[in-house]
């Protein structure tokens, strides 16, 4: 996703002189193509995310289209009030790009887990929150965000994510992509979990269950119609994300469903439990902790079982506070 982003940004900057890129001292062997081609519109702002974000707001208020770049929580939570007051309050044309979100940097420890960012940024008025599902969506999202005027957040994985969309897909901010249609259950996925959701839909199909799959690349504004149609046309909805079970896509969809008051719709969230752990592990390790997606879908469809546990995943030891 990182490569797709940088390549697309270079193409855009070629045509649009207003595009600036600020980095928080990250991007080694990634941002060089931009830095070399557009030295006047590239700044390494140093390890100083609050200042970087304020400077981005100032540039934007002077007519520039500014991308800020860092990893995990550094361009968002580390400078949250600059994002809220300087960028959002002024509807400044700043696009925040975070690579290594979710549990990409799982073994690096809690400081490097970007797992509350969707929830937090989603609460900011004027903020558009975009979590592409694969490199194709990353390209399209980067273009769309550059064209859109106002604050945006682009939440990326790292590198080497599989391409899910092998054929051209329609892309519009705020419009889910129908990856495949189905009638029993709808999986709504955001971010890099898309490939897992595809695999789960395949498995469900092999077991005789027809799963619709939506890639909800834009979590805010949420594609309400796509969710409500799914609620009417399929028996259950399961949201899929590499994010805390609190505040993310699952919460957004849950709020919408509760408000709509549709009878009989079953719902489960496939997300990270809300807990601190003493132990760390790879991205695959955390995905195992979220649990088995196919099992969760089956559980929510099973008429006799109560609602599937939203926070499943075996706790293997709480943080040992000393």
């Amino acid at each position: 996703m990182r490569t797709a982003f940088v390549e697309t940004l270079c193409e855009l900057a070629e045509r649009d002189e207003r595009i600036f890129l600020l980095t928080g001292d990250l991007g080694f062997s990634a941002l060089e193509p931009f830095a070399e081609r557009f030295p006047d519109r590239y700044v390494n702002a140093g390890i100083a995310e609050q200042n970087m974000t304020g400077v981005a707001a100032g540039l934007a208020m002077s007519g520039k289209v500014v991308f800020t770049y860092s990893i995990a929580n550094f361009p968002t939570l580390r400078c949250l009030e600059q994002v809220r007051n300087d960028v959002c309050c002024h509807r400044a044309n700043v696009k925040i790009v975070a690579v290594g979100c979710g549990c990409t940097y799982g073994s690096q420890g809690y400081t490097h887990h970007g797992v509350e960012d969707i929830g937090i940024l989603r609460t900011l008025p004027a903020m558009t929150v975009v979590c592409p599902g694969d490199p194709v969506e990353t390209r399209l999202a980067t273009r769309a965000l550059a064209q859109m005027n106002g604050p945006g957040y682009l939440r990326l994985g790292k590198a080497g994510e599989p391409v899910v969309h092998l054929r051209p897909v329609p892309f519009e901010l705020g419009k889910a992509i129908l990856v495949r249609d189905g009638s029993d259950v709808t999986l709504i996925s955001t971010g890099g979990m898309l490939a897992e959701a595809v695999a789960a839909a395949d498995q469900l199909a092999a077991g005789g269950l027809s799963a619709r799959l939506l890639s909800m690349h834009t979590v805010k504004p949420l594609d309400k119609l796509a969710v409500l149609h799914a609620a009417e046309q399929t028996r259950a909805i399961v949201t899929v994300e590499e994010h805390s079970v609190i505040g993310g896509l699952g919460s957004a969809v849950a709020g919408l469903l509760a408000e709509a008051g549709l009878p009989g719709i079953r719902f489960a969230m496939h997300a990270l439990p809300d807990e601190l752990r003493a132990t760390v592990g790879s991205q695959a390790y955390y995905r195992r902790l979220i649990g088995d997606l196919v099992a969760r879908v089956r559980a929510v469809l099973d008429a006799d079982s109560n609602i599937a546990s939203p926070t499943a995943g075996e706790p293997i030891g709480q943080m040992q506070w000393k």
Partner: protein
């Protein structure tokens, strides 16, 4: 308190070798940042810090915070050498289900504070120093930061706070290796004159060679360098120190040595086997 028979030089060699093995095995980053501070940690943990692995929670112990948390491997290595946990556990570094996270985790015995987001450690250290003063403990708080890390405004907020409150039981050690994440420190946000900045914030700043154990030991044994002021130790260091092909190379902030590079590096650090 345990008396250590080894010299700090031996300890530095061993923790360099251990961190090389750890990052190799885990294919982890940040070996340059580890090697940069191996001498500082070796002196701190063999001569300076009043910490006791048998009684690690003594309220009046000295505190050490590795604010540049990405160099966790070498901190874990020195804590193992110092007897906080068996060294064989270091093999769990960055593994699934392990407490040995790639950035400092306080789940590991002897690690006071989890770090990894730069610019947090000095404020926490200032809080500990203030508490120690209120509690009338002889505790000293040592916080090791990167020079790139000093880009963060929070470092300077903490510096202003500690200077204002005359926290002379607080020591900031700046690992001044001249490199940061995506360039040279002087090219990104030139910090010089660094010592002058700390002085202007009310600190006593001392510049030393951060690989000279005698100099490190002397300055750390004499804190506070000036009564009523926090001490800033600007340690001139070389990123990747001790492994020729890693020294001063930005790439070794990210790369992990392969088997062959590991052997070459170990020969340099430990001598031919």
């Amino acid at each position: 308190m345990t008396i250590i028979a080894d010299t700090s030089l031996d300890l530095a060699r061993r923790i360099r070798a251990r961190s090389l093995r750890m990052v190799h095995e885990a294919r982890a980053s940040h070996i340059g940042a580890c090697l940069s501070i191996a001498d500082l940690l070796a002196v701190l943990y063999s001569q300076t810090l009043r910490v006791d692995p048998v009684n690690p929670n003594r309220p009046d112990r000295d505190r050490f915070i590795l604010s540049k948390g990405h160099a966790a491997a070498v901190l874990y290595a020195v804590l193992a050498e110092r007897g906080f946990f068996p060294a064989r556990l270091l093999r769990q570094y960055c593994k699934d289900g392990s407490i040995f996270a790639g950035h400092c985790s306080h789940a590991v015995p002897g690690v006071e504070v989890s770090t990894g987001s730069l610019g947090h450690g000095l404020s926490i250290g200032a809080g500990m120093a203030l508490a120690a003063r209120r509690d009338k403990f002889a505790t000293r708080v040592f916080v090791l930061t990167g020079d790139g890390e000093c880009n963060e405004g929070s470092i300077w907020e903490a510096a202003l706070f500690a200077g204002h409150h005359r926290l002379d039981n607080l020591v900031a050690i700046v690992d001044h290796n001249g490199l940061q994440g995506f360039g040279k420190t002087e090219d990104v946000l030139n910090p010089s004159p660094l010592a002058e900045k700390w002085r202007a914030f009310g600190w006593c700043a001392v510049e030393i060679d951060g690989h000279d154990h005698a100099q490190i030991g002397k300055v750390l044994s004499e804190v506070p360098a000036e009564c009523g002021k926090p001490t800033a130790v600007i340690a001139e260091t070389v990123k990747g120190k001790g492994v020729g092909f890693m020294e001063n190379q930005l790439a070794w902030h990210y790369r992990s040595p392969d088997a062959e590079q590991l052997q070459l590096a170990l020969v340099e650090v430990e001598g031919p086997s």
